[in-house]
Structure formats: structure tokens, C-alpha cells
Symmetry: D2
Subunit: 280 residues, 4 copies
């Protein structure tokens, strides 16, 4: 169990969203309200697009709430597109190579949820990774394997399609091993231009996922909130858990749904349908 959030919009100081919200992701690391576990203290990561050629990543095994370097970084870096993740380890080691977001080239990837009985499926799933990419898997999480499977199956060309194929393959491998309800997930990924998010669980009852409402609506609802008044039409948040209790600000993403966020305020939803390997 974990929590993640992503921002796509005008460049903002990362601090504004990580630490200055009522119930932001760092607060959620200590007291998550909607999560399967209330504490997400087994490391965290921040990936941001900024001045470098690709995304930068800061990861640490300390709990996010006590990391002084994260506060420094957040207070000094602006970004138009970033992703933060706080981790509850449920079994795999607490080490930087297990912290999300994972990165390859222009791509970031994070996950809230799990692959059921991953130890039974790990070998078959790793064998399905493109041999050229195999040696790039440095950690031991299910999520990193999902990311490399998705890269193998075309993430860079068709992110949602590749994730549908990846989930379909995992479900098929799981079935072969007698594992039910294989995938429990919200995924977030980005190439620095668009941001994609998925909410899906094989057995239903997927982890929570929300998007921020249309900025104009938010501004109108809360005319006295100076933070909301600074929102522009292009600003969008995708979060595991709302940052506040304010009615009208957050919209739940339905189960089995993929979201695309893009420039100029683009926000689209479509059904997410896993595709078994032989069925394409």
C-alpha cells in the first residue's frame, strides 16, 4: 500500500503541493485516510521534469515526513510536471531501488497496489521482459517488473495500450500459477508531456484515485481561496487521496478507467481493459 500524486500544469514550486496543502502526500505518509494501511513510512520518491534533458529523481528510504533534504529540494525546485510517491513496503526490502517513481529515459512510473503472490510469478514475469532491458531491473518490487514489462510491450508508443497488455499478461501468468485477483493497482506514468493514470483491480475494488476538478469550477466554488485563484486552465492533479475535504474539488476516477492528462488542460477518461497475450 502506498500513496502517489502527480501535477501537470503551470510550473509550481514543488513545496506548494508537497508540504503546503492541508493533507498532502507527505502528510499522507504519516496519516493516510483512505489507504489500506495508515502509514507509508518505507521510503518515498519524487520525480520531476525541469531543466535537465530528462526527469530527475530523488528517492530516499527514510520516511518522507522526516526527510529534511526533501523539504529543501521542494522549497527550491519549480516544475510543470512531477510525481511523488510514499511507500508502505508490504514485504519487499526498504531500499532506494525499490522506491517509486521508477525511471527510464524520459519516462517515470509509479504504482499503488500490488501483484498478488508476486514471489510465485516473479520468474515468469521477468522472463517476459525484453532481454535487452533485463539487466536494468535493479530492485525487487513488483512495480519495477510491471514497468519493464510495459516498456517491453510498447509503453513509449501507446502507454494505455501497453498497460492493458501488461495487466493482461500478468493475469494470464497468475492464472497459470493458480493465483486469483492478480492485479491491484493505480498506475501513474509520464513522458514529460502527457501524464497517464490507471485505476484497475482484477477482482474489482481497486485502490482509490482522484483527479482535480476543472480549474474554473474550483475557482468559482472557493472565490476566497488564494491558492485556487492562481489555478490556470492547464492545471491538473491526479492523486491517490484528496489533499483536502473541500466539496467539488476532487472527482473520483471510476474503476477500470484510464486517464490522460495533457497540455492545455486536456483530461480524458476511457475504459481500461486488460488484454490477454493471445487475444490481441
Amino acid at each position: 500500500m502506498c500513496r502517489w500524486m502527480a501535477w501537470h500544469g503551470q510550473p509550481v514550486l514543488i513545496d506548494e503541493l508537497l508540504f503546503k496543502t492541508q493533507h498532502g502526500i507527505v502528510d499522507q505518509s504519516l496519516y493516510s485516510r483512505l489507504g489500506a494501511e495508515p502509514t507509508n513510512g518505507d521510503g518515498f520518491g519524487l520525480g520531476w521534469y525541469g531543466t535537465g534533458p530528462g526527469p530527475a529523481v530523488y528517492r530516499n528510504i527514510a520516511p518522507a515526513w522526516s526527510d529534511t533534504n526533501l523539504r529543501e529540494l521542494a522549497a527550491n525546485v519549480h516544475s510543470p510536471l512531477f510525481m511523488a510517491h510514499v511507500r508502505a513496503a508490504i514485504g519487499s526490502p526498504v531500499q532506494e531501488t525499490n522506491c517509486h517513481p521508477f525511471r527510464r529515459g524520459q519516462w517515470l512510473f509509479c504504482h499503488n497496489g500490488f501483484i498478488a503472490d508476486f514471489h510465485l510469478l516473479r520468474r515468469d514475469l521477468m522472463l517476459a521482459i525484453d532481454p535487452e532491458l533485463f539487466a536494468e531491473v535493479h530492485g525487487s518490487t513488483d512495480t519495477e517488473v510491471v514497468f519493464y514489462l510495459a516498456l517491453t510491450l510498447g509503453l513509449e508508443d501507446d502507454p494505455i495500450g501497453a498497460l492493458e497488455a501488461t495487466v493482461g499478461m500478468i493475469e494470464e501468468v497468475a492464472q497459470k500459477h493458480g493465483v486469483d485477483d492478480a492485479v491491484q493497482a493505480t498506475f501513474g506514468t509520464s513522458d514529460g508531456v502527457h501524464l497517464w493514470a490507471v485505476r484497475y483491480a482484477t477482482g474489482g475494488d481497486a485502490r482509490s484515485l482522484f483527479t482535480s476538478a476543472d480549474p474554473a469550477t474550483v475557482r468559482d466554488l472557493y472565490p476566497d481561496n488564494p491558492r485556487f485563484q492562481r489555478l490556470t486552465e492547464e492545471d491538473r492533479l491526479v492523486v491517490s487521496e484528496p489533499f483536502s475535504d473541500l466539496p467539488g474539488v476532487w472527482r473520483e476516477v471510476p474503476e477500470s478507467t484510464a486517464v490522460t492528462v495533457g497540455p492545455a488542460g486536456l483530461l480524458e477518461e476511457r475504459p481500461f481493459r486488460p488484454l490477454a497475450p493471445g487475444s490481441g
Copy 2:
């Protein structure tokens, strides 16, 4: 806010009490029930008396729940007297020198609670430490200062008396600075033979503290519990928070009370009365 526990009795594998109880101290690091804060994930420490000339101390800034070395250590070390502490930092840095228990010579010391407005009092309190000991204060917690004040005021000769003098002095310094309700505390300390514990708060409503009931009573109450049947007359636990919900096993220590645990099952309580510097 923190949680601590101490064992005094037959030599036991530390594991038995740290990890194999229903709701032991490591479990409390993740989900404390009675604490002011539910999470105590800002480091921990274990001090034990064993085969060496003095107590050994293992401290780490990682949360206790994810520390694999702690599990190894606990599963391989026996001790007749040990103390464990999980920390919620409330402001001071997460670093090993701020983890309890603190040690000097044969002595261990730990604390659940705080000195109110410690930053206002820190200089005056540090000046009151024996100049010979001043340079031994390596961290930045209020607790370490309390420990060195108590050493200055005679901890090694009369532990409870020295703590009464220490609390009295802190309250006086606090009053001088206009700080109310200066001390909120349960303290635990040991010289390897006895174990002393104090429950006290200047303004009342002190942090919780419990001792285990008489072993014979516990055995009789739960004749089918193999762990309890192994208890001998000399076995005593002092804990911030019970390890189980079993009625009759835990006795709350009253407020403003000092407890002495010693060989042969000794368990005594007496009133704890802070002594202001000029009033002795």
C-alpha cells in the same frame, strides 16, 4: 511522543518481547494505541545488559518496524535486563545521537514525553550540567539533557531522588522563563541490577505507564498460555503501553509515582515529588 519498555527477570531472547508479543514495542512503533501520536517511526534504540562489561546499545534512525538488523539481533541475543524505545521526534533531528536509551557507564536512560519549550530552557539546563560531563552531550534532545542533569544531581547514588531534583530544577528554570507545565514524562533507567521508572507530569495527565502483574497471578489467570507459564517470580515488565488486551496482566502506574524493580521479583512504588533546588 514515544513508547518504551523494559524487561527485568530471567534471561530471555529479546525477540520474545520485541517481536513475538501481540502488540509489542515494534508493533507500537507503527500503531500505538495509547500514545499522543500513533506513529513512532523516527528511530529507536535497544539497550541490553549481557556478556559485556556494561550495557550494549543498538540505535538506528530507521523505523523499528523495517529494521532487518534489529530482527537479527533480537533473535540472537539473550538478556536478563533490557530497555527498548521507539521515537516520535516532535521537532528535534532524527539522528542516532537523539535515539534512546542514552548510556553512560553502567547506566541506561529513556523517556517518553517532553520538556515544554525546551529551546527556551536549553541553555540554562545545559549550564547546570556538571562541566566535566558537558562535552558528553552529543545529541540535541531534551531527554539527553535530563539524563546528564540527573547524573549531575546524583543518579548513580539515588536514582529516584536525583530525578526528583532534576524535575524540580527544570520546573524552576521553566518558571523563570514563563513556561508552564514544564515536564511531561515517563522515565526509565537502570544500572544493570535495578530498574527504576517514573510517571510524572507537572500539569498532571502524565503519559501512560504500566507494570506487569505478579507472575503467579498471570499464570493462574491464563493457564493455557505457554508463554505465561514460563514466567518466574523474578520476571517484571515496565511498559508505556500494554502488549496485549488481557485483563489482569497489566497494572497502571499511578501519576506522580516512582517504581523500583529489582532482583527476586522486587517491585515497589513510592510517590514521586519534584524537589526545587533551594528547598532540599
Copy 3:
């Protein structure tokens, strides 16, 4: 590049060998003299057989020279058989799951050296691991893969034979990928009764390895050294690098040699000959 050491003999305080020697393994972490790199500051590990059902392992990503917990542990734990390793990471992440010794059941395993171009061979080598063991590989080092290959190929029944088969297989896989001089190694492994060590490099010029000389000889050579006078006939050290410059105390293990150390002072050497998969 790394350094390791192992003790087999009378129970000793670990401290005696880790910190109280002239140029012990912790000193080697800061200033190795014979190593390919002078600094081995990328984590360390200590595995010891003692009071528990199997070996205990303490691993940390901090440099050994500054780890205060290691000093505490070493000063308080006695063991008749233990293994310590200091690491220079040469590329793979600094994380506990990459620290030696690795453990499975009763077995410990450590390595000084490397598999050449491991990223090219990793997939093929991991596929050769027993599928039942695959999910137990938690880190990303070449050494952990070597250990699980050796377990797959019979380490528990015939340690040296299994290591000959493992090295033979790695050399064959390397050849297939056009990688020369595949294996550079000293290995150390134990089941808690015997200790085995191997010095071997595919292209020759293997990393250094030494055993301590016959205790009677050492005592006679240095009659005024109280530490040496305490040696009994069963005491043996295997080390990457001598702890002292004293003549007559250390014997270099020849290249392509396997050493077996066992109860009652057993010390045997035999040639180490890698066995290619099809040639058995």
C-alpha cells in the same frame, strides 16, 4: 573489489578480530593495502554462528569504520565461526540486499571480485537458478547470483564441487556472450561446521587470499604476544589481506585452490578446477 575475513575456532569476542587487530577488516575498509581499490566504504556485513538456530547477519550500507552499532555488536557477541565483508561497490547500488555475506538456511556466502560484464550475463545466469529459488534473489549483485547458482548446483552437498560447476557454467555463458576472463574471485562459504574458501580467476591473477599458519608455529614465533598465546590448535583465519605484517603468521593460498577448514584444526587445500556444464 572488497575484502573479507572468516574465523573458525574457539569462541571469541568478535571485537577481538574486527577492531583489535593491527590491520583488521574494518581498518581495511578505510585503507586496504593489497586491494584493487584502497577504500571499501560501500557497506559491509557480518554473519555469525552463535546461539540461534542458524547464522545471524548484520548488514549496513554505511562504511564499517563509522558504524557505531557494529562496534557495540562486536563488543558483545562471541562466536566460534563468523565471516565479515567490506564492500567497494563498483557499479551496483549501495543497499543492504547487496551486502555480503548472503545467507540461506545454515549457509553464508561472500565474495571478493566480480563477474565480468555481468549486465550482459545476468539474465542467462538468473534463468539457470532453480525456479524455486529465483524469487529469493533480492539484490542486484553478481555475488548473490553466484550463491544461488551454487545452491542450485549442490552447494549444500558438495560445496567445492558446486562452486567448480558454478564457475564452469559462468565461464561458458560468458564465452557465449563473447566475454573473456569471466570470473575474478575469492569465495568464502560456511554451513556452521566447516568453512570453505576458493581463490580463482579465469584469466589468472586472482585476488589475494591467506590463511593463518598453524597455531603452534605462531605461538612459537611470537612467544611474547599474549593474543597469539591464547590460540588453540583449532583456530584458523581465512582473510583477503593479512591483519599484520608479522612474518610466519600468514600463508598465501595459491591460485586455483580450494581450502577446507573444519573442526579440530582441519585445514586442507586442493586444486579448484571449474567444470563446464556438459563436461561432467
Copy 4:
């Protein structure tokens, strides 16, 4: 023993100086050539002036050479003025609050060297700190005490004068305690506009300190070096140890000398003369 460096000039990617030089500060953390100790692996820090209201600080207890987050940060942050420090702990704990540079408001401060027998002087020196600042001393290094003494004695108004008064006071306190050769130091400090550096040792033979030569000279000497051709007239480096062996690029700062670096390529040297408390 430590190493530090500071840049004052055109905004540069921090990476350029931390990782892309022949023998930069991170390389010096592993293999210092001129230092009293070759390894500076007990933590490090980076302080930079950039987009925030004051300097940002990133500190870590891991060795600089293996910190992946430092590489990310350096590759993504530009700054016209920054300071980096790698630490060899010589006794005090390895913790973030002991990592340089220290910060207060707009000010950064770092140090290579030590106060002799600091444990004997610590109390007297801490008492001399402005009581308002006392509680801000969070770590246990001599350097942090020097910084707060300098703040007490006017660092913000006259940096070099305040350091002369601070060193004079330390020498006087040391003399009172029978401690010779009290101060061994190069100091670096900045307010975000100027950069000041001092080379001084009570007993002479101060730690090394260098400034980069006039940019025009450097460009003329090495017309084929593209990095040097990008230097402008305002670019200046102050370093414990040169980043390269190139003749003519580095100028040693004489002993007992203070350096001021400022906008528009300002570089001034003047004698540094400690001022005893009563002698002003």
C-alpha cells in the same frame, strides 16, 4: 580533516564542478591527495543560492561518491554561488547535523580543520554564544560552534573581522585550558553576494587552500580546453585542493590570509590576524 570548494560566478550546472572535473570534490571524497586523511567518507553537504529566498542545503551521511541523489541534484540545479564539503569525521558522530555547510538565514559556513581538544573547550565556547542563538546549535561539531560564535561576534556585518575575533577568543579559551595550537582551519562563508575564505592555523602549517587564477589567464593558457573557454571574468573558485594538475590554473592562498570574492570578478586578499577578546 575534510575538503571543501566554493563557486562564485556565472550560473552553472552544479554537476559541472562536482562531477565533471578531473579531480573534483566528490573524487576527493574518495581519494584526496593533499588532505591529512585520504578518505572523506563521513558525509557531505551542498549549499547553494538559487531561486529560493535563502540558500538551500542538501546534506547526507552517506559518502558523497555513492550518493545517487547528489548526482540527480547536481545534474538539475544551476547556481551562481554554491559551496560543497566532504567530511572526515575524526571523532564526532556521522549525522546530518554535523555535515557542513551550516546555515543561518542568508549565511552558509564550512570548515576544514579542527579545534584542538574541543571536548575541553566546548562548554566555555558554547557559553560565549549569544543566548538567543544557543538553542540553534543542533549538532556536536566544533565547526558549528565556530559558526555561532562568529554570528555572535558580528559575522553578518564584518565577516573577516568576526572570524578574527572568533579565532582570537578560541585561542584565549584554549590557552586558559592549557591547549596549544588551538585552531587549524580553512573557513568558507557566504551571504549569497560575496564569498569569504580564510586560511589560518594557530601553530602555522594551515590546511591547504587555493583560488582559481584570473579567467583570462586560464583561457590563454589552455586555448583548446572548451570548459575554460566558457569562463567569464566573474568566475572564481575557492578550493581545499585543486581539481586538476594544470599549471597556472590554481594559486595557493598564503597562510594567515583572508580572501574576499565578489561580483564582477572581485578577488582580494588581506592578512588574517586573530583578535583576542580584550585587545580590540
